[in-house]
Symmetry: C2
Subunit: 317 residues, 2 copies
């Protein structure tokens, strides 16, 4: 079982409006409400890969109930620790004319130390049956930046490897707790390195590898940088690799990154060597970028891409 931790889930509401009047009354032609948040996208991808998953996290109020009900409909097992606050919503208005969209993202609920304590109890119980844990997404207000580090240390104590997808102080503190894999994107790695980075194949790549190497030196056992349409760059104890999709795909960047995280966790628990793991992850990410909703991908796209991705040692960077 892979435990996916989602401490700040969301109920994602999308309105499709044929012609938006930004100053008046609109009747959406389509309305969707689905569980959101990076961890939930990871869990959905793992479920699509037939992996056994359990989503743990914090949820409250009727929106929290909506997230749990939505996961139930999707066949994703979850056991949220109840909180007094209300799980956040995101609201997206898609304008039918140009396909443009406005996103309104509510702040997450404030979480108390006692509530995180109750979550820890559930988490430690789940670790007993876990092959890996995935820690993904933002921390809700009230939780200290070291929360992921705490959870990684608890997993390590139970012999369970951790995959971390976070940014800023939560990533910095989490990396120092020696997770098996961290998966920053280019912007997140640049923020941590304190200098601009580019994914361009020429000068940029060695600089990315250097910054990833610094994050390894700070504690992460492997660093896999997602470079968008340019694929992945992995810096690990076994070597450095570049994994590239056959052709750049523009699409859902959030969903793509979460599918990469799912693929990395899946390859980890299956014990695959890094090149196979990276081909899996980059194929999933590319297939997910082309799908309409985060957490979804076409199995046919995935299978086709798996035969076309290239994974090359990049040890001389």
């Amino acid at each position: 079982m892979i435990v996916v931790v989602c401490l700040n889930p969301a109920l994602d509401i999308t309105h499709h409006v044929p012609q938006v009047d930004w100053t008046g009354v609109n009747r959406p032609s389509q309305v969707h409400a689905r569980p959101g948040g990076k961890g939930l996208n990871v869990a959905r991808t793992l479920r699509a890969l037939q992996a056994e998953v359990l989503v743990l996290g914090l949820a409250g109020g009727v929106t929290g109930a909506g997230v749990a009900a939505g996961l139930g409909e999707l066949g994703v097992p979850c056991a949220f620790t109840p909180i007094g606050g209300q799980t956040r919503r995101t609201f997206t208005v898609v304008d039918g004319r140009g396909g443009g969209a406005a996103l309104f993202s509510e702040p997450g609920p404030a979480v108390g130390a006692d509530e995180f304590g109750e979550f820890r109890v559930q988490y430690e119980k789940a670790l007993a049956g876990a092959a890996a844990v995935v820690l993904s997404g933002s921390l809700p207000p009230g939780l200290p930046a070291g929360s992921y580090a705490t959870l990684i240390e608890l997993a390590a104590a139970a012999g369970v490897p951790a995959v971390l997808d976070a940014h800023g102080a939560a990533l910095r503190r989490g990396a120092a707790a020696h997770p098996a894999i961290v998966k920053p994107n280019l912007a997140e790695l640049a923020e941590l390195a304190g200098r601009p980075l580019s994914s361009s194949a020429g000068d940029g790549r060695p600089a990315v590898a250097a910054a990833a190497g610094e994050l390894r030196a700070a504690g992460a056992r492997a660093v896999v940088v997602s470079l968008g349409a340019a694929g992945l760059l992995a810096v690990t104890a076994e070597g450095t690799w570049a994994a590239r999709p056959p052709a750049p795909v523009a699409g859902n960047a959030t969903g793509a990154g979460d599918a990469v995280t799912a693929g990395l966790a899946h390859g980890l628990v299956l014990g695959w060597p890094w090149p196979q793991r990276l081909a899996h992850a980059v194929s999933l990410g590319t297939a997910a970028a082309a799908a309409p909703a985060a957490g979804e991908f076409s199995a046919a796209d995935y299978a086709r891409l798996l035969g076309q991705v290239t994974v090359e040692p990049a040890g001389d960077l």
Copy 2:
């Protein structure tokens, strides 16, 4: 007890955004979620008048649970009949720069005949203890236009007078079932009359009284037309009256109309003569127009207005 029927309630979500980017990502500075729909506004106003109320209606899904929970927090008793569909949301984005707003109103859930049948059972039970019923707001998809007429006939059979605030076919069919009061606004009355109407004091008023008279002839025992800032025009078996606030107030028109409906129902159960009833209703409506949210009003505003409104016979129109 006044039974307030709300067949198509809503969860009203409002985001206040300091400077909206209609093409990008926004972080609202304030988020409100509260029960909405015209019937619920009526019920809140009645509660503020210390009247005993019970909200009945149809609600489903986590948004339905949110509506019920919100009414509980506001101290408004409710007993919704559960439905398989999901109660609708409305979503309002208020732009902090100019105070402009965009509203996105979801369609209501489709309601089945069996679900309306279960509601009828609850409704008939509640009629046993009811002094009046208020039927207010749109019908959800799936319910026939004669649904309000059915409920008015059931109330009459139990000796309970009905106040109807609806529009279109639901108003036409409802009026034919002889409710004690119907409360169209000018646009709703014009739609029914099939000709344009104006609230201007000169030529317009007799035409409004004539259209209201036609609605009385079609079955309604009294017709009270809300004219916005110009007040009310009542055509009843006891006479015709014009009730005017001391000065026009621009503001929340929806909330104002619902407060008028509440005042009319309240005056009805108290057995007040029409002039007193109309002064009460127009004062509540004017006070509500000035309040920030539908269903709310300042008691001080109401008391001040009550001493300033004029109610004049308009029998010679």
